[in-house]
Amino acid sequence: MDESIESVLPESGSSHSLKLQFTGSGSEYFRIWIVNLLLTIVTLGIYFPWAKVRKLRYFYGNTLVGGEPLGFHGDPKKMLKGYALVAVLFICYSFAGEFSPMAGLIALLVIAALSPALLKSSMQFRLANTSWRALRFHFAGDLNGAYRAMLPLFAPGALIAFLSVLHPVTDPESLTWQGKALSLLGLAAVVFAPWFFWRLKKYQHDNYALGGQQTRLSASVGDFYALAAKVIGLYILCGALIPLGILIEAFIFGFGASGESGGGKHIAAFIGFALLLLVPLFVAVYAFWLARFQDLLWNQTASTDIRFKSQLHFKSMFWLTVKNWVLIAFTFGLYWPFAAIATQRLRVQAMSLEMSIAPEQLVADGLEHADEAVGLAAGDFFGFDIGL
């Protein structure tokens, strides 16, 4: 029996805590994945949108918010057209640069000019085809906002590309001048990256809407810089640990005792061992980033009556990532769907919702009609996603 039926309408003002659960299973997704993969290959890719819809329905249907599942409504036939269109665009983009730098530059500019529109329609498609308690979500962001959010991201990139095409290197003097300009731009890109990223996430998280509620991201650009500083600091620390580790090894085992060539072998072994240590260290930093970023993003996302909470533990994220990668390697990839499910479970179940009205009081806002299948396809090809 559904909890919702039993619950009586409480008076507004009291707080409702809704848990997020993920009920998908690795072995069931494995079966869906294998059949999807087989049919996609046998049909030379035409089945791909149907496979995608089956996968999304399984993931959404097993994501329970306060006991009620999400629904995915994308139409595979419309998505097929979208994929075909984007595939053509993508092929043109990949091959243009091989022919001449100018063709590559033009393709890059076209993609850059189109990508905010693709981002917007990707978000719109995803949200408009997602429902909870039979209420459709919608994405409230407009085209103007998408361009404003992404412009700073593409301006330096376009400038770099433009410079290197218009001023091909001829003499060493111009090389140093150009090199300086390029490295300055590259440095600026690194320094401003958290700010660009914040603008992008703000555009997304400011515009999720359901039943008259629209979310806002209250995280400041400073929060993004603080997290970036921590992550970069950890990377540097990991890098510094390597020579230290080698030194300690050298003290413990001692080298030079077994003669010249033996010493060489020892050093090679030491370096190999140190590199082996490096892998889990970097996995740890990666897991730290994933966990802290999900928390930062969702803890500061809220609408008038809905507040999200996320408590993703770094330790569990780290062990899960290590386990997934090891098992994927040992099973030659067959563990892949199990890993996808386990990661989703950990990330979803770390979250909860706090609502100041009863969920039953939400009413459709009548704004949910956009159906741009090109959007979803674009998201897949160019790597936009809502992150959860």
Binding site: S4, R31, V35, I41, G211, A340
Partner: protein, 352 residues
């Protein structure tokens, strides 16, 4: 008449209603559990029927908004089956371990077959269909890029250059004309050590360092150029582009939903395998070129020996092991060229 208890959301409010579902004459009737009032009637074809899964609820979305659902999956499945609804083949396949295992076996065989025959055949067809002008413009773009980053103008004397050009022209003249693609030989001073390579469209670049490495021996240089001419004859650059593209799309479709970093591993491994085959084919071509010009294929071994000697000298300063490293299976899987020992053995055998 079969009935099923379920809950109903109308699509306008988030409120759930307890209902009874009835199917009659191709219409789904949603009846309020308490008042017995018919809340909604929907044509069966306007219902998105849920697929059988072991986890999750049964949720049927209705055209025009709204849904009916239940936690009781067994009751739902019995109700649907009793009303003559058929399950799609895909769902049957997904829900039986036997068909899933069969699918996995077919999939593995299929991927093997696509890799061993399908993709090479497809690249053959695509390479065949691509006009030579494409190779030409690819080659021009590549030469500009290489010149800007890795090369400087040659410092070989004009005499030395024409001596090598003449020797190579004589070797080419000894070949069957239909076996020889269009070619042009250019010299460059290299920033990356001794090397020789062929660019699509027919430009072969020989570095000053390679000429010096083999002491200007035109027979050895011709053997190297024969290998590069083989790449041109087989249009390997274009083939490689096509293969990476196809492998990349297959891999991202299959594996992209978990980690895009990991999805590049099969592409790297797969392409390295094709690359080793292409290198071997170019070696075979080179032997054929040398034999037609009455040069012993064994001269190629000189190049390998000099390369190995140079690497040893470089390694001395770097406190690395002097002995040639044993090729590990992991190294082979990622390597673009077959192991040197294997290639040396091949040329020695061809010389007999």
């Amino acid at each position: 008449m079969q009935e099923l208890a379920a809950s109903y959301f109308d699509g306008r409010s988030a409120q759930a209603h307890a209902v009874t579902l009835r199917l009659a004459d191709g219409v789904l009737h949603i009846v309020a559990a308490d008042s017995q009032e018919v809340l909604r009637s929907v044509q069966m074809r306007d219902v998105q029927w849920p697929e059988r899964t072991r986890h999750g609820k049964r949720v049927a979305h209705l055209a025009g908004g709204g849904l009916v659902q239940t936690d009781d999956t067994v009751a739902w499945d019995t109700w649907v089956a009793a009303n003559g609804q058929h399950e799609s083949l895909v769902v049957k396949m997904q829900q039986s371990w036997r068909t899933v295992l069969a699918s996995a076996v077919i999939l593995i065989c299929l991927i093997g077959a696509v890799y061993a025959w399908g993709l090479p055949l497809l690249s053959d067809v695509l390479v065949e269909a691509t006009p030579a002008s494409v190779d030409q413009s690819l080659g021009e773009a590549a030469l500009t890029a290489v010149d800007a980053q890795l090369m400087a103008p040659t410092q070989l004397s004009a005499d030395e250059q024409s001596r090598i050009q003449e020797a190579w022209k004589q070797v080419v003249a000894a070949q069957a004309p239909e076996q020889v693609p269009q070619w042009e030989l250019v010299f460059r001073k290299s920033k990356i050590g001794p090397n020789a390579f062929a660019l699509p469209g027919g430009t072969m670049v020989m570095t000053d360092e390679m000429v010096k490495l083999v002491d200007g021996d035109t027979q050895v240089l011709s053997a190297i150029l024969g290998h590069e001419l083989g790449h041109l004859q087989h249009r390997d650059s274009l083939r490689m582009l096509i293969q990476v593209g196809v492998l990349g799309s297959i891999s991202s479709v299959a594996l992209g939903d978990f980690s895009s970093v990991m999805a590049t591993v099969p592409v790297l491994l797969g392409q390295a395998g094709y690359s080793r085959e292409a290198e071997h084919a170019a070696d075979v071509y080179s032997v054929q070129v040398m034999k037609a010009a009455h040069i012993s294929p064994a001269v190629m071994v000189v190049m390998f020996d000099k390369m190995a000697e140079r690497n040893r000298e470089k390694a001395k300063g770097a406190a690395k092991d002097g002995d040639a490293e044993e090729p590990s299976w992991l190294g082979i899987a990622f390597a673009s060229h077959p192991a040197d020992a294997e290639r040396i053995a091949f040329f020695k055998q061809a010389a007999q």
